[in-house]
Amino acid sequence: MIEYVENKDVIAKRIARMFHSGDVVNLGIGLPTLVGNYVPEGVTVVLQSENGLIGLGPKPEPGQEDKDLTNAGAQPVTILPGGAFFDSATSFGIIRGGHVDYTVLGVLEVDQEGNLANYKIPGKMVPGMGGAMDLVAGSRVVVAATTHLEKSGASKLKRRCALPLTAAGEVDFVVTDVGFFQVLGGRFHLKEWFEPYDPEWIMAHTDVDLVVDDDSAACKDL
């Protein structure tokens, strides 16, 4: 009997391995931000921040914060040598124009049609979409990052999102703390499972059309 334990770092680690040197990557607020901590040595990705910069660097040293240099979450950041600042139209031109290779977003729900919901719970919480709708519509590859189960025990992976959509049919991959999924042809395809979870556990805990692909395998070293 495998017990589910939330593990955001596993998600971040696995996503970080998707990148190649030179890839332009936008990491959403929250869980996706963790991905930046796990980019493998030797891989140089270019982080884009939709509030107007390319070449996002690490947090500044205490006392070195600049009020004019923040990320999209209003936290102080730095810029790496070779980075650039631009206005919001240019920033979203980059995003919408397909110049961002990977966008990694947190979700409230994601479904087997590649629909994603993460900006609104009607009557309850309406933070707004910010840049998420453009990121999901425009990026070359969209990766949804989410813990696998809600507190209720229900899977975040759905047959059909019930919440208002952030974008329709744009999600390419979903990475949870139990496995790596591709969304294709109206189904989730399990490509990797993260031990101790296995395909049986995942099938049992994910009420969707789910295929375990022939080439799927355990991913052990996360």
């Binding site: 107007g52 209003a74 920033s91 309406v126 707004g128 979409m129 998420a132 453009d134 519509a137 049919g169």
Partner: protein, 230 residues
């Protein structure tokens, strides 16, 4: 080049009239014209429509309050057109209570709609929002077999923007991510007021490095960075 009038933040705030559509630069408060906002809050001018990336930060716990949040708190807006209100729970409270109309616009669409207004375009075709609630009430158009939403230009009466530096003609330079929506709003409103931290002589800026050409700016408010004040 003609010099632009340098006015006080209080004079600037008085140029905003009740009922105006006001574009305010800044991203969660980074790059907001804080001195003019403070004076506008003092004046209490009502019934405004805000166009801004977000309704900024109003955090009851930490007491952090940035950008336009004080104007939201003061209920000076009849309507806010923004991409995000998640960091200002008061906006959401007013929305739920029916006190303030909130129009949520995807951030990239908001940027293009403002730019379109400043560029004399009627609107733009964007894929963003297709298949979501955002498409409701909008025209959909097919271009090369792809569906786009027609998003219309969004201009305003007054732009309150923030730059790092101006020359006396009104050429502007922004600093880092404090640029954001400011250069777009500078093009899209009938009256443009630029709050700046530093004012230099005409000729001191390299013409290759001007972010907003002088012709967009009507008034300058000089408000040095906090650490640079006497």
């Amino acid at each position: 080049m003609v010099e632009k009038p340098v006015i006080s933040a209080a004079e600037a705030a008085r140029k905003v009239q009740a009922g105006n559509v006001v574009h305010v630069g800044g991203f969660l408060g980074c790059g907001s014209p804080d001195s003019v906002i403070a004076e506008l809050a003092k004046l209490g001018t009502k019934d405004l429509t805000l166009v801004c990336n977000d309704s900024a930060i109003l955090d009851a716990k930490s007491g952090r309050k940035t950008g336009v949040a004080v104007l939201v708190e003061n209920r000076q807006f009849r309507k806010v057109v923004v991409s995000h209100i998640g960091t200002n729970p008061e906006t959401q409270r007013q929305m739920n209570a029916g006190e303030t109309e909130v129009v949520l616009v995807p951030q990239g669409t908001l940027a293009e709609r403002i730019r379109a207004a400043g560029s004399g375009l009627g609107g733009i075709l964007t894929p963003t929002g297709v298949g979501t609630e955002v498409e409701e009430g909008k025209r959909k158009l097919l271009v090369k077999d792809k569906v786009y939403l027609l998003e219309e230009a969004l201009g305003g009466d007054v732009a309150l923007i923030k730059a790092a530096k101006a020359d006396k003609a009104g050429n502007l330079r922004y600093s880092k991510t404090a640029r954001n929506f400011n250069p777009l709003m500078a093009t899209a409103c009938a009256l443009v007021i630029a709050e700046v931290e530093e004012l230099v002589e005409i000729g001191a800026l390299d013409p290759d490095d001007v972010h907003t050409p002088s012709i967009f700016v009507d008034f300058i408010v000089l408000s040095p960075r906090p650490e640079a004040r006497a």
